[in-house]
Amino acid sequence: MDLGFTGDEVAFRDEVRAFFNQNLPDTIRRKMVEGRKLGKEDIVDWQRILNKKGWAVPHWTKEWGGTGWTPVKQYIFLDEMQQAPAPSPLQFGVYMVGPVIIAFGNEAQKKRFLPRIANIDDWWCQGFSEPGSGSDLASLKTTAKRAGDHYVVNGQKTWTTLAQYADWIFCLVRTNPESKKQQGISFLLIDMKTPGITVRPIQTLDGGKEVNEVFFDDVKVPVENLVGEENKGWDYAKFLLGNERFGIARVGLSKERIRRLKELASIERVGDKPLIEDERFRTKIAAVEVELKALEMTQLRVVAAAKNGDSSKPDPASSILKVKGSEIQQTISELLFEVVGPYGLPYQPEQIDGDRINEPSIGPDYAAPLAPTFFNWRKISIYGGSNEIQKNIVAKAILGL
């Protein structure tokens, strides 16, 4: 047993860190640190910087632009990226549909989509959830009926993150209404410009408009946009949801947020001393730091185990990482809300959008994004399979209950 990284890994970490230091645009870094909204251009610009370096899709197979890094290096890269703090390459393309196309798509699909995903030439969004199908995703009702060389899609998707920017959506659709519910589902790629698609924003409780409803009304989708086999989509969806094991806990991001929390708690004052010296507050910070250290070690154990095992298969340990990781992120976001005391209250949406600030803020200039982030981050224990669903998975897959 040995905690340290090898000399090669340390050199790699330094290389990655130096690259982020030199290449992450300061405007983006500042928005990330301050918790202000990133624009579409920020995400596109940054992903293209990464792609130019060859680092936008390190976990993909080498043939399609992957780096062939060991699991430890993959982990170091993500950890450093989160600590920079830099935005992630677009999740829906790089971590979701990309790996599905690599694993199950045909050659034509790979050639057509993968390079454009890596360079974010196409913005992808995810069409899984429906109004009646959340945790019980397999009950989904959006249908795709085969009609000659295309499918006709009808139905509604919801909670579609950043669909307003999207060029493409990957969807789970029901192609066989007769069979048992998991077995009649297919995985379709749909061009968002196709006639019959309507996107309607949903405002979330923080005031943001990052999620949408997407309606499909007789939308014609060429059959060549089917991934893998018809009616096998549920397997691909499980692959997609279960194969994220290095970034899901977001340990690096939480480290960065704790540093920020300590910075703000050193500026804020309570009575005649900085808040960071307040017994109760600093104990709350220390408690979450201990949890985070334990999670980091658990994450490293999973990474180290991947070295020896088959890392293409979903690992139920991902569920533990997701549950603990979400709890920790939410706790930190709550402390970041508390850190400014009553100045967490003024609602200043124009201060949150990093490109729209033209008036001085009410209260400290770092206060405005903190409460909305706290409310927004309640989503972390809901999306991608709620924490309760994750516990169901662990109970079944690990405990055999």
Binding site: M1, D2, L3, G4, F5, T6, E9, V33, V72, K255, E256, I258, R259, R260, K262, E263, A265, S266, I276, E279, R282, T283, I285, A286, A287, E289, V290, E291, L292, K293, A294, L295, M297, T298, L300, R301, V303, A304, A305, N308, I320, V323, K324, E388, K391, N392, V394, A395, I398, L399, G400, L401
Partner: protein, 383 residues
């Protein structure tokens, strides 16, 4: 970065696990507890034969040159069986002091006897008022010619009632809570002026209150430099915390396994109770608490030899926080999910719960270590 055991370590793990599996069933343990000193001399001999008692000592002193990972392996296996023998007291704590500060004469005299199982040591450090403050030493060590005179009372001395020799901390100079001025003395437990009152703790382990009245010791009793013992006491207690963390993981793992099995076999309302989601989620919460604790026990083990004292001490404190919290949670939930049977003395799960609680209370509970971390800036620097 590697969490795998070496081939040698795997063999050690197998042999310790086999020994406790064969010789340390729940009924057998109850029998050992009734022996005169509350633990089994026979088993102690077997540990010696297996090489466990000499494990962490240097080969030149008569040991086997093992490291913290070896201790972790032994302690985790011991935690799985709730082993009663004085391994922590003799090998980890007293042995740790000897390894760090003992001179050649002391080591060559004592280590072979420790390794062959013929010598039991106990570490007499904490006192009635000291709670978890290792520097709070009121027992005095007054210079008396070439030697010293010890006066005071040591409390909760683990296995103090079966020790042949004691390592006693005493204040040579300074005020009650000063880190400077503490010395360590090796004394025979039968020395005139030493009186011992042994007792059983809630977890079945033994301890003693030890009174020292005008105990005269020669200069050879001193271990290390006079008055400079504190950093070593802190380091050795950190080592003991790492060992206890591994023991706690063993105990928690058993509680989790036993509870999961119970959920699969116990039937109510015509079905195994493990069919109920509320119980499934509680079992998953136990698993997460166990795995977080296991991660921190590994961290503590790997930080034992860390050269940077502050880094070491903070990491091990963080581990103790996690171990304490996880241990309490896993123990309480294990009893709760068992229902009535979990409340009984005759069923094993409650005994594991009691040990987990005891481990939290030894060498600083979760609150104690959390407060220290909070006071010293936590684990991460501010941006």
């Amino acid at each position: 970065m590697d969490f795998e055991l070496s081939e040698e370590q795997r063999l050690l793990k197998q042999s310790v696990e086999r020994l406790v599996a064969d010789r340390y069933g729940f009924e057998q343990r109850t029998g050992y507890m009734k022996e005169p000193q509350g633990w089994s001399r026979t088993l102690w001999k077997q540990y010696a034969e297996l090489g466990l008692l000499g494990l962490p000592f240097a080969e030149k002193d008569g040991g086997f040159g093992g490291g913290p990972v070896d201790t972790m392996i032994v302690m985790e296996a011991f935690g799985r069986a709730l082993v009663l023998e004085p391994f922590l007291a003799t090998i980890v704590l007293s042995g740790g002091i000897l390894r760090a500060l003992g001179n050649d004469k002391q080591k060559s005299e004592l280590v072979p006897k420790i390794a062959d199982g013929s010598l039991i040591l106990a570490f007499a450090q904490t006192e009635r008022q000291s709670r978890y403050d290792l520097a709070d030493v009121v027992t005095t060590a007054k210079k008396d010619g070439a030697g010293y005179v010890l006066d005071g009372t040591k409390s909760l001395v683990l296995n103090g009632d079966s020790a042949d020799k004691l390592i006693v901390s005493g204040r040579i100079s300074g005020k009650q809570r000063d880190k400077e001025g503490i010395g360590l003395f090796l004394i025979d437990a039968k020395t005139k002026g030493v009186s011992t009152r042994g007792y059983q703790n809630i977890d079945g382990m033994r301890a003693a209150e030890i009174t020292l009245s005008s105990v005269k010791v020669g200069p050879e009793a001193l271990i290390g430099e006079p008055g400079k013992a504190f950093p070593t006491i802190e380091r050795v207690v950190d080592e003991a915390i790492a060992a206890l963390s591994a023991e706690a993981v063993g105990a928690m793992a058993v509680m989790h396994e036993v509870t999961t099995d119970f959920l699969k076999t116990r039937r109510q309302f015509g079905v195994p109770i493990g069919n109920f989601q509320v119980l499934q989620h509680a079992a998953v919460d136990m698993l997460m608490a166990l795995e977080q604790a296991r991660s921190m026990a590994m961290l503590a083990t790997m930080m034992v030899d860390e050269a940077d004292n502050v880094e070491r001490h903070k990491s091990i404190a963080a581990a103790k926080v996690q171990i304490g919290r996880s241990g309490r949670f896993v123990g309480k939930t294990a009893v709760q999910l068992h229902g009535g049977i979990g409340m009984t003395m005759e069923y094993k799960v409650g005994h594991y719960f009691k040990r987990a609680m005891a481990i939290d209370m030894l060498f600083g509970d979760a609150d104690h270590h959390l407060a220290m971390l909070a006071r010293t800036g936590g684990l991460l620097a501010a941006a």
